[in-house]
Point group: C2
Chain length 214, copies 2
């Protein structure tokens, strides 16, 4: 296969054109309004499964965008997602990203209680006194604890991005969060990841900024 000559600034645009073409060929029509998110997930993973696995609760995209524009913070369960989220765009609106996974107090408490650091990280996040978006890309235990905290009335997130990946309790954790009624975006099934969590945040941030690719 030949290497095409393409200007750096055009690579992303061209990628989105190819994705749109392939969705058409596959006879997949995305739910209006979800395109920037679904297409960015495909762009990040080259995996068209996301065209069909992503679930959006009613009104979640508008609500998340409004929250970001009003300066909401993002809480995530991995350093990788934190590294991938566009912190510059978020900061322009007044928000920041939190990841408590590497905090010493979190590690100590998790060990003492015999739970994952992800569980304790979400509890720590529940103490933040700002509008929050939870973006969970790794640990199903973080998503389960988020669902519980919501059910107990301890958090009222603007949105939960529930995209942990893997084989143990991942599918169940996603079912649980969808059942709570919290505004959420979920990659149903086993797939997801910190890259997907970051790219959904970025799709929301870019849309909030008025940047358009689709």
């Amino acid at each position: 296969m030949e290497i095409k000559n393409i200007r750096p600034g055009d690579i992303e645009k061209k990628s989105f054109e190819i994705i749109a073409d392939e969705l058409k060929k596959r006879n997949i029509t995305l739910i209006p309004g979800t395109e920037p998110i679904v297409m960015r997930c495909i762009h990040t993973s080259a995996d068209f499964d996301y065209a069909e696995s992503l679930y959006f609760s009613d009104g979640v995209i508008d609500r998340a965008i409004e929250a970001l524009r009003s300066g909401a913070d993002i809480v995530t369960d991995t350093q990788m997602a934190m590294a991938g989220i566009s912190k510059k765009t978020l900061a322009r609106f007044g928000g920041q990203v939190h990841c408590f996974m590497a905090d010493e107090d979190v590690a100590e408490e998790a060990k003492r209680r015999g739970v994952t650091r992800a569980v304790v990280s979400m509890e720590k996040a529940s103490k933040l006194e700002k509008p929050l978006i939870f973006a969970i890309g790794n640990a199903p235990t973080a998503l389960i604890r988020t669902a519980e905290l919501y059910e107990q009335g301890k958090i009222r997130p603007e949105a939960v991005i529930g995209v942990p990946v893997g084989f143990v309790n991942v599918v169940a954790s996603k079912e649980k969060i969808m059942q709570t009624g919290v505004p959420c975006i979920v990659a149903r099934g086993r797939k997801g990841g910190s890259n997907i969590a970051a790219c959904i945040c970025n799709a929301l941030l870019y849309t909030a900024s008025g940047r358009k690719l689709t």
Copy 2:
């Protein structure tokens, strides 16, 4: 689906057991020696495509492990991969991770020359005077430039992990690196990503440390 009660320390082990079971059910036998890498890619992505898409040049795993044990550094093209690589394990052997993508001089030179920052980052990495492993999880332009630098005799990496993801020049960049004859691990096709780049590095690091999951 019910949430299973499982001790935090057992989650990863259980995940690898499920992956091994499913590989068996799919009648997939992995190339001996590649299991820790292939299975960790599946663990990170929940995508069994990696069981068939990963290419390993002859002897690359032993060479990469030996290099890591001897203190080789890792060069990557994304902050996310840098965040995901186990820097603690790497540091125990004397190595560190470099990512030049956010460097101001890189951004300026890329703009001036009309190339991607990824290209300039790889050129900057070629000046490092240590044994190196290149782990490219995002930009095909980084992988293409790495192949060129190798062909020009400007770098002699211990191994190249070539797993960019996407739709423009991604497949071609992987074909190019495999043709150079450099020791390499490549996810053929469009799939890959910074999560895959990080997890291949970690699989090598864990194997180098004697930690076993498979």
